[in-house]
């Protein structure tokens, strides 16, 4: 085999590998994504990332229409919470915890409400006016999906 043929063959193989990887990644992405969900009575469609940080940081307590925000989260060490902090808020779980603790133990604010499963999260967000939370995939119309920009 000539050198040029060998190189062409190698490149074709590599190209096939790269394309396979890209397709696999694209297929995998929807299952990795995390969706921020809210009660259907919430009127906003999307939130800037700094507003999302303030809401989940328990510092922004009302929606633009004045409705009280009710925050639902998974426990600190839950993999979904870790992924949510990193991928959606671009923070680390310990930073949110420190922010909550500074509010809680100075009397300046309250803690978010903890849930233990995605079913519980969806159920509570669906039935609590002003609620916001997050799940891996919200296959239901009972909650509103909010995009973070």
């Amino acid at each position: 085999m000539k050198v040029s043929q060998y190189i062409r063959c190698f490149l074709q193989q590599r190209l096939a590998q790269v394309m396979l990887f890209m397709v696999a990644t694209l297929l995998a992405l929807p299952s990795l994504a995390i969706e921020v969900v809210a009660h259907t009575g919430v009127t906003v469609q999307s939130l800037p990332i700094n507003s999302a940080r303030s809401m989940f940081g328990m510092r922004q307590l009302s929606w633009p229409d004045g409705q009280q925000v009710r925050v639902f989260v998974f426990p600190d060490r839950h993999p979904l919470h870790t992924d949510f902090c990193k991928e959606v808020l671009n923070m680390y779980p310990y930073q949110l915890r420190q922010s909550w603790d500074r509010l809680i133990y100075s009397g300046m604010g309250q803690a978010p409400i903890e849930v233990n499963s995605e079913e519980e999260m969806l159920m509570l967000v669906a039935r609590t006016p002003g609620a916001i939370g997050y799940v891996r995939k919200a296959n239901t119309n009972a909650v509103r999906i909010i995009s973070i920009r």
Partner: protein
């Protein structure tokens, strides 16, 4: 004064209760904490830990309740019990206030707080008595010296606070007008020496502007304050000269610069403080230093490493000079006859923390200290102190 606030809080609750009906419990939260620390030293005493013998260093317990009546109304109260082996053990109201939002729109927040309120000072003061919110058992004693803690604790007052958001940056600010609750034997010993008179807080202020970027990747801030008090001597003070001396006045004008950089596994923190101490009217015969103004310099640098889930280690260098014009304490030693080491402290600390669950934390740390500036003068009579000393400490902490 303190308990007079409760009728107001109760009245507010009574007015608001009918509006929530059966959903009231959704708006009320209760949290608490408990911690106990043991220590051992090779010289000098801290808490009830003596040289070469493990002893109790610090026990803290507290409980709080908050009622977030609406996004615009918050009522909060916290009780704290603390035993450091020096101060009298007592239950204190750590905070009890009503917070009302005046403005909340488009990233601008402004609120007013009235009652027994928490004072902002540096990164850690607001929750200084809650073990799991501290990176170590002892906070850096340069800025957060426990002997002067009463200056910075909650006090009756009024606060205006707010938050501004602008893209990746958020600014949180607070301005407190307060009357510090400074009268404690330890505080008298710290400010005046081991005397029997009374300290009385005068109207003072503390303010803070904190900045964070990218959700807290960078945090920084400035804290400023002017804290005033009055010392009424006991006739037995100053070897019997107390009956002839006037009442002393002290004002501390203080400022802190704080900066922190947070990564997934590492956090780097530093704070630097200068405090101008102004004193007058003591007029103690033969002790002119009682009326001498001075500048305190305090700073620390720390690196924290989260090396495994639930585990972290920390290294800190923490320094205090009580008088920048006399860093070695030599002049103080010459005019007072007391050890020079009372005027400085350099503390190298290495610590380890393990959180087996979200609610429990176990701490261990060692300190290598040169100087005794932040040791309690009540449990360490100046003539008996040794300038170079080491300490080891362990702590268990629980919170809910």
């Amino acid at each position: 004064m303190r308990f007079a606030l409760f009728p107001y809080a109760s009245a507010l609750l009574a007015l608001a209760l009918p509006a929530w009906g059966e959903n009231l419990t959704d708006h009320v939260q209760t949290h608490g904490f408990f911690s106990h620390a043991l220590a051992v030293t090779d010289r000098n005493q801290i808490g009830m830990a003596h040289t070469g013998r493990w002893g109790n260093m610090l026990t803290e317990a507290g409980v709080n309740t908050t009622l977030q009546a609406s996004p615009n109304w918050l009522v909060a109260g916290q009780l704290l019990w603390r035993n450091d082996g020096v101060e009298p053990k007592k239950l204190r109201v750590d905070c009890a206030f009503v917070d009302g939002t005046l403005l909340n729109e488009n990233g601008h927040q402004l609120a007013l707080q009235v009652g027994i309120i928490k004072n902002p000072y540096g990164f850690y003061n607001m929750t200084r008595d809650v073990a799991h919110t501290r990176p170590t058992i002892l906070l850096p004693q340069s800025l957060y010296h426990d002997q002067g803690r009463n200056f910075f604790l909650s006090a009756p007052g009024i606060a205006l606070h707010g938050r501004e958001e602008d893209g990746a940056n958020a600014f949180t600010w607070q301005f407190n007008l307060l009357k510090p609750d400074v009268n404690s034997p330890n505080m008298v010993a710290f400010m005046v020496g081991p005397q029997n008179g009374q300290l009385q807080g005068k109207t003072s202020w503390l303010g803070q502007m904190m900045w964070d970027r990218d959700g807290g990747r960078w945090r920084g801030g400035v804290s400023l304050g002017s804290l005033s008090m009055h010392y009424q001597p006991n006739p037995t003070d100053f070897f019997g000269a107390g009956r002839f001396t006037g009442a002393g006045n002290m004002t501390l004008n203080t400022g802190v610069l704080s900066l922190e950089y947070n990564l997934e596994r590492w956090s780097y923190t530093g704070e630097y403080s200068l405090t101008r101490q102004m004193r007058n009217s003591f007029n103690v015969p033969g002790a002119n230093f009682m009326d001498r103004n001075s500048t305190l310099e305090e700073y620390y640098l720390q690196a924290l490493w989260r090396f495994r889930p639930g585990w972290q280690s920390i290294l800190r260098y923490d320094v205090v000079y009580v008088d920048t014009a006399d860093r070695s304490g030599v002049w103080f030693n010459q005019v007072s006859g007391q050890p020079a080491s009372q005027r400085y402290a350099q503390d190298w600390m290495l610590g380890l923390r393990y959180d087996p669950t979200v609610s429990w934390s176990i701490f261990a740390e060692v300190h290598h200290v040169n100087g005794t500036a932040w040791l309690s003068k009540l449990s360490n009579p100046p003539a008996t102190t040794r300038p170079r000393w080491n300490m080891m400490s362990v702590q268990a902490a629980y919170h809910f």
